[in-house]
């Protein structure tokens, strides 16, 4: 064999192995709001997801391959969320997706999962409908409103609540929360008064708050994301509202509230799904400390941790499912989700069956904490 032939052969071999190496990554689709009203939250989740991917790849990846996040922006818009899901499956050929932050965004994506038979890990959404509508491709790690309400139930008698008004974002998330918490409160013999809504992009809620101020309820429960919550607290304070304010939904970012709503945040109570202020008292202190440390090392602002940890847990859960499946294929991953047991930052992630028999969705039950903002600081009241 002549020398030039050997060289040519080596070159071809190099090209072949080159492509082989390039192909040796497992794609995971990420469908999050990176622009629009939920841009801040979606970006936090994506940054959390990146930390998980880097950690996994740093340890050699899964099934001997690196994982690669294919991140797409759903623009906080349900139509776009469905389009992104379709694009991730048909063009990027991802075998599994994480998404889509908001309940309406997730619900819009769900028919596409059925159509293409690709599983999706839901990291943030809390509408009950997501896991009860009979979509076997849904695996959720965030608590639905009913789980939040159930976790809050034993705390209710220890607080002074007689009658509750609701102010919720006008979408599946907010309306679902008002319904689930309302049901739970009624079972505790607490009256439910007004249920007011606000458009997801509304900036002025004074009209709703003036009506609530005039009601005879002693407590106001608010469900929305941090930006709108900041406005609600500021405007309630401007109206001189004296009611106890309790927020739900897990997207409150208490530190951001303190920074932006100032004294208006004092005295408010929040149902949170991760308590990074005391990493030692979280269910998995070591993982929590690693994540918080990595978050700070990357220069992200601390308030985002309460949102981004879900992206981190989501990708780790997906990686665990792919590992168990043994191959990056949608059906194998879907089946493997039922067997995962991941040490999440907010408790063990294991999926329970929910929804109509035969086509159940998976639901993990995380911890829910009650925190209070006192004098510009987050405190965890003992109950």
């Amino acid at each position: 064999m002549s020398r030039s032939r050997v060289l040519a052969g080596a070159a071809i071999l190099a090209v072949l192995t080159g492509t082989a190496v390039a192909q040796e990554s497992i794609k995971i689709g990420v469908n999050e709001p990176l622009t629009g009203p939920f841009a801040a939250s979606g970006t936090y989740v994506v940054n959390g997801a990146r930390i998980a991917a880097d950690e996994i790849n740093g340890k050699g990846g899964i099934l001997g391959k690196k994982i690669e996040l294919v991140i797409e922006d759903n623009k906080s818009n349900p139509t776009e969320a469905a389009a992104v899901t379709e694009k991730l499956v048909t063009r990027d050929k991802v075998p599994v997706i994480m998404g889509a932050w908001g309940s309406s965004l997730t619900l819009a994506s769900m028919p596409k999962l059925m159509e293409y038979q690709v599983p999706m890990l839901v990291e943030t959404s809390s509408s009950g409908k997501i896991t009860t509508s009979g979509n076997p491709y849904i695996f959720r790690i965030s608590p639905p409103s009913s789980v939040e309400a159930a976790a809050f139930k034993p705390m209710v008698p220890k607080m002074t609540i007689k009658k509750v008004d609701f102010l919720v974002i006008n979408n599946d998330w907010g309306r679902g929360a008002a319904e689930d918490f309302g049901k739970m409160l009624k079972s505790e013999n607490i009256q439910v008064g007004l249920v007011e809504t606000m458009d997801q992009s509304a900036q002025d809620m004074s009209a709703q708050l003036a009506k609530i101020k005039a009601s005879d309820a002693d407590t106001l429960m608010v469900t929305t994301a941090v930006e709108q919550l900041t406005l609600v607290l500021k405007q309630a304070a401007a109206l001189g509202m004296k009611k106890q304010i309790i927020t739900t939904g897990g997207s409150q970012n208490p530190d951001q509230l303190i920074a932006q709503a100032g004294t208006a945040a004092n005295g408010t109570i929040h149902l949170a799904t991760f308590a990074p202020w005391q990493p030692d008292s979280t269910p998995n202190p070591e993982a929590a400390k690693y994540f918080i440390g990595e978050w700070k090392k990357r220069g992200f602002d601390f308030p985002g941790v309460t949102e981004s940890f879900r992206g981190y847990d989501g990708i780790r859960t997906i990686a665990a499912a792919i590992q168990k499946a043994g191959k990056p294929e949608p059906e194998a991953i879907r089946a493997a989700f039922w067997t995962v047991d991941v040490k999440g930052l907010n408790g063990d992630i294991k999926f329970q069956k929910q929804g109509p028999a035969g086509k159940e969705s998976g639901q993990s039950v995380p911890n829910v904490y009650l925190i209070k903002i006192d004098d510009g600081k987050v405190v965890v009241p003992t109950m």
Partner: protein, 290 residues
């Protein structure tokens, strides 16, 4: 009764805000006949500019206001010079597409520079509210209302009582004749767009601290502004002012006594009614044609 008084107080506060959003747009959309899709982005620009001056440079909010308004004036002049001047004789659809493009570029630049996390600006006003009997309002919002009324009055005087205002009105009534009478038509176009832009920036500069500042804050602002301009009649400063207060009243009472789910629908119901009954807007005067 006390709830009703609070709704009326809210209406005044919110109405001042809406009027401020409306007058900048009515100048550009109403007089120049340019559908200014960048209005909301100029509003956002004003808000971020105040954030830059107050939080990054550490200056006082009251000092930041005029700086932001001046910056809005300058940015408006640049947009007019670069985008609208070359399109002067093209049809309204072409200009509209160019402005939509400009809006997308501006909104995404804001997000690229500042990120998606909302910003807030501290002001020298106390956080405790001003309480008068059963009514409670924030000092900052009272200041915003006062400033809005001041800016509206200044704009009214500028258009109706000054030589520049007369030249503006002449130019948009009949460009060729105005030009023959010695009006520098190109300069008038730039000045009008710049003034309208500075009013949008003033709105953002005043309201950014009252709300939170985010890259998409201009979407809802421009939607309301278009509604107000249609309600008040194109190019009518008084109409835009009253339109702002009417929209605020409809939203307040709609949310307060009908259903908060239809709060934003109330304004549009009124607009549909106005368009059906008086399509030129509630306060439109007879227009001279030709």
């Amino acid at each position: 009764m006390s709830e009703f008084l609070q709704h009326i107080a809210n209406t005044l506060i919110l109405g001042g805000t809406y009027a401020l959003l409306g007058i900048g747009l009515t100048l550009i959309f109403g007089i120049m006949r340019v559908v200014n899709f960048t209005h909301g982005e100029l509003y956002t620009f004003g808000a971020y500019f105040v954030f830059l001056v107050v939080s990054v440079l550490g200056l006082n909010f009251l000092l930041a206001l005029p700086v932001a308004i001046a910056a809005g004036l300058l940015l408006g002049a640049v947009i007019e010079f670069l985008l609208l001047r070359p399109m002067r004789d093209s049809d309204i659809d072409t200009t509209m597409l160019v402005m939509i493009g400009a809006m997308i570029v501006m909104q995404n630049s804001e997000q690229l520079i500042w990120g998606g996390v909302a910003k807030s600006v501290s002001t020298p006003f106390p956080e405790t509210p001003l309480v008068i009997g059963p009514v409670s309002v924030s000092y900052l919002r009272v200041f915003v209302l006062a400033m809005a009324l001041l800016l509206i009055a200044a704009t009214y005087i500028l258009i109706n009582r000054t030589k520049l205002g007369k030249a503006m009105r002449a130019t948009f009534q009949d460009r060729d004749t105005a030009s023959l009478m010695g009006v520098n038509v190109q300069a008038i176009y730039t000045a009008t767009f710049a003034i309208g832009s500075s009013l949008a920036a003033a709105g953002g500069a005043l309201l950014g601290p009252a709300y939170v500042i985010s890259p998409h804050m201009g979407d809802i602002a421009s939607l309301k502004a278009f509604a107000i301009v249609i309600l008040g009649g194109l190019g009518n400063i008084t109409g835009a002012t009253l339109g702002g207060f009417i929209l605020a009243l409809a939203e307040e009472l709609g949310a307060g006594y009908v259903s908060s789910g239809y709060r934003d629908a109330m304004g549009f119901l009124i607009i549909i009614a106005v368009l059906l009954i008086k399509p030129t807007g509630l306060f439109a005067r007879a227009e001279r044609i030709g």
